[in-house]
Symmetry: C2
Subunit: 299 residues, 2 copies
DNA sequence: TATTTTACCTGACTTATGTCAGATGAACTC
DNA sequence: GAGTTCATCTGACATAAGTCAGGTAAAATA
């Protein structure tokens, strides 16, 4: 990809964007205050509502001092929104959960956030373009917060990726693409202990995936490598492949294979650059026309 | 324009964007704190550095209480960064300006901001796409902060707009477009008292323009109506036209005319929707092929 | 000229947030 | 089982930010 030179007013435009979002974030935050709770307490309630229960984890996530965390939590307890208990395994740790009243309050914050988001979309003439721009910027700003997670290939996050993957294949391959023809995986082959399915998550949004599919033929296959358009160029495909290889090593797999199509040159370039060697066709699948193999060092 | 239905995960994507920018704004703000001054004081210093000198104006701009403002100012004075004096006309008011030390400190904040902006651009594989996305979002979030300003048509803001306008005409008109052929305006005809040139500004970025060009033939012409691609659909063209008509009324002009090209259907639709009537060709310009007129109520 | 309004200042508060030095009790290590 | 490490809590303190009730002097108004 050629390095596009930024235009001369580039810095001014980024700074104008910064001013606009600073103002927008201020508005977002003050709207939370309308529920009569300081922002810190609202953030803790939100973290618990998202399913975080370990106190230390919440503290790390929000970047709070232990004393401050303790006080905020006591405040929420006094309001009757959360309840804490000692961890069953390690009674130094505390676990927190929402009471029914807390769950209702959390739902109210969620409703507020959803309404705000919908409001931004509703006033714009082209929500699709706005969303694409938001995805692009969200990925750029949050690139070092993208995490790889092991998922069930039937989970909603995985399905979102796979759907986009199939749609893109259909658009890019010369003949129309029908997933049922393509040696469709049993989900179990892409789950421990036979394989794995990794999804790259950025703040709850799935941005890419890769499948490691165990076979009975002495090797595992890499399948369904995909990166969202908004996140391309950030090195995510490589991270996903590294993650898949690490998962394979963890499962004691020594040999990987994959098939791909010559209509996907970026993927092929990546494979060549990361130690894969082209081999002869190893299956009868009609769509792939290029085949690779990589031998892994034993863990 | 068809109303694009947003995809089902639209709200989740907006909220993910919100989380990403909230985090980015936090990082931006904490970096300002590295200069050892609380955010409030830094914001006041910044407002003064931007050229605001009237104390009340700064207070309104930053949304500060008068007591708080006063205290922040005393702090900056104690640091030797600003100096205040009574206003010459109305000695209840105070005017503030930077001392040399204050100017140096302000420049340092500017350098920090520029470096941050450049840093965001530098790490992205496609700065052009990132900037386009930022412009789009900046315009969407700041749409109610877009102001119309009367400018000299030779000012840098005006020239940025005109350059983009000519580039777009060249791209959209079937024959190549040469500005020298097109009855190029004397700047004076687009300035008071003969006419006006309006620029739509959003946080320092020009997003659109329109010229009101006086003639000696008993009417004024609307020229060079342009809106930046990132700001289209927000009703800006209409605001610019309204502004131009108001300026005409202020100058005692009773009749407006304009010429345009059938390759610009959005513009023509706007004219038809806002009280313009199509008339016969009234000049020999080679590019326009559609002509309009509008009679104004006297102010 | 007397009264009211305006722009700013001052002092006394409150709240949110953050920091730090122990205290407590549980878990781990030798 | 004694010492150490760890997670959390508590109290004391600091700072940033905001609010509010007067106070002062100049300007506007009657």
């Amino acid at each position: 990809m050629p390095a596009n030179l930024p235009p001369p007013d580039a810095v001014a435009r980024v700074r104008r964007f910064n001013r606009a979002i600073t103002r927008a974030v201020g508005a977002l935050n003050t709207s939370f205050l309308d529920r009569g709770r300081p922002l810190g307490a609202a953030r803790v309630l939100n973290a618990i509502g998202q399913g975080r229960s370990d106190l230390g984890e919440i503290r790390a996530y929000l970047g709070l001092d232990s004393g401050l965390m303790s006080r905020l939590l006591r405040g929420l307890e006094a309001e009757g929104l959360v309840a804490t208990a000692a961890d069953a395994q390690d009674s130094r740790r505390r676990v927190v959960h929402l009471t029914p009243a807390g769950a209702a309050e959390f739902a109210e914050y969620e409703r507020l956030s959803d309404a705000q988001a919908a409001g931004i979309l509703a006033t714009h003439p082209d929500p699709g373009a706005l969303l694409a721009a938001m995805d692009l910027i969200g990925s750029a700003l949050g690139r070092d917060r993208i995490t790889l997670e092991v998922c069930d290939p039937r989970s909603p996050e995985a399905l979102r990726c796979l759907q986009a993957y199939y749609a893109e294949l259909a658009a890019r391959l010369p003949h129309s693409f029908d997933v049922s023809l393509s040696c469709d995986p049993q989900a179990e082959a892409m789950m421990a202990p036979r394989g794995a399915f990794l999804v790259a998550m950025s703040d709850g949004l799935p941005l890419g995936c890769v499948g490691l599919k165990g076979t009975d033929a002495g090797y595992a296959e890499i399948k369904r490598l995909w990166v969202a358009p908004a996140a391309r160029g950030l090195g995510l495909a490589r991270r996903l492949m590294d993650g898949a290889e690490a998962a394979a090593q963890g499962l004691g797999i020594a040999l990987l294979r994959l098939d791909t199509n010559s209509a996907l040159p970026e993927a092929i370039a990546l494979y060549r650059a990361t130690g894969w060697t082209e081999i002869a066709r190893f299956n009868d699948d009609p769509y792939p026309d290029v085949f690779f193999e990589k031998r892994l060092a034993q863990a």
